[in-house]
Symmetry: C2
Subunit: 332 residues, 2 copies
C-alpha cells in the first residue's frame, strides 16, 4: 500500500490485488482478491487431471492468466498465496500429501513463482482457511482458536496468541491425522488406523453410511441410493425426512468429532473451534452430537466455555480468501 501511495507510475495507480489459490484433494479454486476481502474474479479446475505437477501448473496458469488480464494485468498483482494439504510455510514445499496425486516433496511455491513471475507464499490449506477466518470471518478478533476443515480430508489450522502455530518444521496442525479410535478404521492414504479423517471426512461419512447399512436390518431410504453416491448431503436429506439410520450416522460421526475436539481443546484451550466444509451443512444434526461428545470428554475446567462455530464465509470464496490473505503479510 505504501508503495502504491508513494508512486506515480500508472501501473501502480490502482489498488494492489492478491491472488489466492486453494489446492484441495478434489478441486483447485483460485481467484483475485482486494484488500477488503472482495473476491473480484474466481474459477476452479480439477486437482486430479495431471499425474505430473508441472502439467497441473500449466493448466492453472492458462486459467488464472485470463482472470489476471481481466483484473488489470500482472502489474497490479502483489503476489500469490497458496493453500495446499501438507503445505510447508517455511520451505514452500508440499511434502508427502496423502490426498494429492503428486508423491514425495514438491517445491510448489517455487514452481508457481517461476511460472507466474510473482512472489509466492504457501501454507497448509487449513492454515490458509484459518487466516481467512481471522481476517474476514468467524474468528475476527480472536487470538486463540482452532479451524477444522471437513472436506475430502480433515484439515486444521491452530492459532494461539494471535499467531498460527507452524511448529519447528512448518508442519504443525495435522489434526485430521491424530488417532481418535486406536486400531479403528483403516485410512488408505496414510496406512494408519482410526484417525479423525477416517471418520469425519467426506469419505469417512460415506464409509460409515455403508457400514451402518450393512450391519443394520433397519429400513432406511438410504438403501435406495447406490453405495458410490452416498454422501453427507444424501444422509442429511434422509435425516431431515425422519430417517432413523441417517440420524445415527450423524450421531456416530459427531461422537468421534466431539471426542477429537475435546482433546484439541485440552491442548490449546481455544476460545472457539470453527468448522468449515460440506459436513457442516447438516447443521444441528451433526453439531448437536459433536457438542455433546466434546463436553462429555472435557474435564470440568474446560466445560461449557468453548464455542463450536460454523464458518459463515461463502464456501467457494473462503479458501481463496484465506490463501490470498497470506499475500498481505508477505515481506515486500
Amino acid at each position: 500500500m505504501a508503495k502504491a501511495a508513494s508512486s506515480s507510475s500508472s501501473s501502480l495507480s490502482f489498488e494492489p490485488l492478491a491472488i489466492g489459490i486453494d489446492i484441495g484433494g478434489t478441486g483447485t479454486k483460485f481467484g483475485i482478491v482486494d484488500r477488503n476481502g472482495n473476491v473480484l474474479f474466481s474459477s476452479e479446475i480439477s486437482t486430479r487431471g495431471h499425474s505430473q505437477v508441472e502439467g497441473f501448473i500449466d493448466e492453472l496458469y492458462n486459467h488464472l492468466h485470463t482472470l489476471i488480464e481481466k483484473a488489470g494485468g500482472t502489474g497490479r498483482m502483489r503476489g500469490i498465496g497458496v493453500g495446499a494439504p501438507n503445505g510447508n510455510y517455511y520451505s514452500g514445499t508440499v511434502e508427502y500429501a496423502p490426498n494429492l496425486p503428486w508423491r514425495g516433496i514438491i517445491p510448489l511455491a517455487k514452481l508457481i513463482q517461476n511460472k507466474f513471475q510473482l512472489p509466492t507464499i504457501l501454507t497448509n490449506d487449513a492454515n490458509a482457511a484459518a487466516i481467512g477466518e481471522m481476517m474476514y470471518g468467524a474468528a475476527k478478533g480472536m487470538k486463540d482458536f482452532i479451524m477444522i476443515t471437513l472436506g475430502t480430508g480433515v484439515g486444521s489450522g491452530i492459532v494461539a496468541n494471535g499467531k498460527l502455530i507452524y511448529g519447528h518444521d512448518g508442519f504443525a496442525g495435522e489434526l485430521g491425522h491424530t488417532i481418535i479410535i486406536p486400531k479403528g478404521r483403516y485410512h488408505e492414504g496414510t496406512g494408519k488406523y482410526g484417525s479423525l479423517e477416517s471418520y469425519a471426512s467426506a469419505t469417512g461419512v460415506k464409509l460409515t453410511a455403508i457400514e451402518m447399512l450393512e450391519k443394520s436390518e433397519e429400513a432406511s431410504m438410504l438403501r435406495d441410493t447406490p453405495k458410490e453416491r452416498l454422501d453427507s448431503r444424501r444422509v442429511y436429506e434422509a435425516a431431515i425426512a425422519g430417517d432413523k439410520l441417517a440420524k445415527e450416522i450423524f450421531d456416530f460421526t459427531g461422537e468421534i468429532l466431539g471426542l477429537a475436539l475435546a482433546n484439541f481443546v485440552m491442548f490449546s484451550s481455544p476460545e472457539a473451534v470453527i468448522l468449515f466444509g460440506g459436513l457442516t451443512k447438516a447443521g444441528d444434526l451433526i453439531l448437536k452430537p459433536t457438542r455433546e461428545s466434546m463436553e462429555n470428554n472435557l474435564i470440568q475446567v474446560f466445560q461449557n466455555k468453548v464455542k463450536i462455530l460454523v464458518s459463515h464465509l461463502k464456501e467457494s470464496d473462503a479458501a481463496i480468501l484465506g490463501a490470498s490473505a497470506l499475500v498481505w503479510d508477505m515481506k515486500a
Copy 2:
C-alpha cells in the same frame, strides 16, 4: 536487576533471589534460587496434610520463612513463582484440580502473596517445568517443544514460537486428560474414561501392573510384592532382573504414551518432547516402546525427526527451578 544496580541501599547490595514453589499431588517442594539457576536452599512438605488451603499455606510459610531468613531475609526476594496442577497464569487461581485436596476455585497466588507480602505469580506445574527446561535444561535454545511430566498425575507444558501456550483462559496444556483409549480405564479424579493420565501416571502404572498380574498366569517376581506397594520402581527392578511380565507392563504403558505423543506431535510439531518424572527412570524399558509407538502412529511427514528426551535436571530441583523462573519474567 536494573533496580539493584541503580540503588545503593544495603538490602539491595546482594543479588536478588527468587522463591520457587512446586505444588504436586503428593508433595510440595520449595526453594530459593539465584538468577543462574542455583537452588541455594530447599525443602518439602506434604500437600495432603490440610483439608483447608489456608492451613496448608500456614505450614508452607513456617517452613519457607526459615529458608528466607537463611538466604538474607525477605528484602532479597524478588518474588514467588508457584507451579500447581490446574494453575491459571492469568487469574492466579487453581481451579477444580482433580489431584489436589482443595475443591473448587482457589485464589492461590493471592493467598500466598498476602501471607508472604511478596509479589506472586502462578502457573500450571508442568508449564513451570517447561520454563525451567527452557531456561536451564534439555530445551535450552528450543522454540517448539512439549514437556510431559509423568508423576502422580500426567502434566504438560507446550511451547510454540518460543512462548508457552496458555490459551484464551490460561488453562491450555492439560494433555494428561486427553482421551487416548475411548471407553478405556476409569479415572477417579475426573470421572472420564481412557485418559493418558489413567495409564501413564504413577497410579496408572500400578493399575496396569495389578491388572496384568490378575489376567496372566505367568510367573513373575512382582507377585511377591503386595499390591499397594507395586510402583514403577518395583516394576523396573523386576524388568532388569529379566521378569517378562514386568517388561510387558512397560511395553503396554509405552504403547499408550507413544500414541499420545504422536497425536501431540501432529498438533504442534515440536522439535522435541521432554519427559520428566519417576517413570523415566526406567530408561529404555519405557522409552523404546514409547518411541516405537510414536513413530508407528505418525504420518510420514513427521516420522524420524522428533526427539524424545529425558529431563536431566535433578528431580528435586527441576520443579523449584521452573517455578522460580516465572519470577524473572515478572513485571517489576
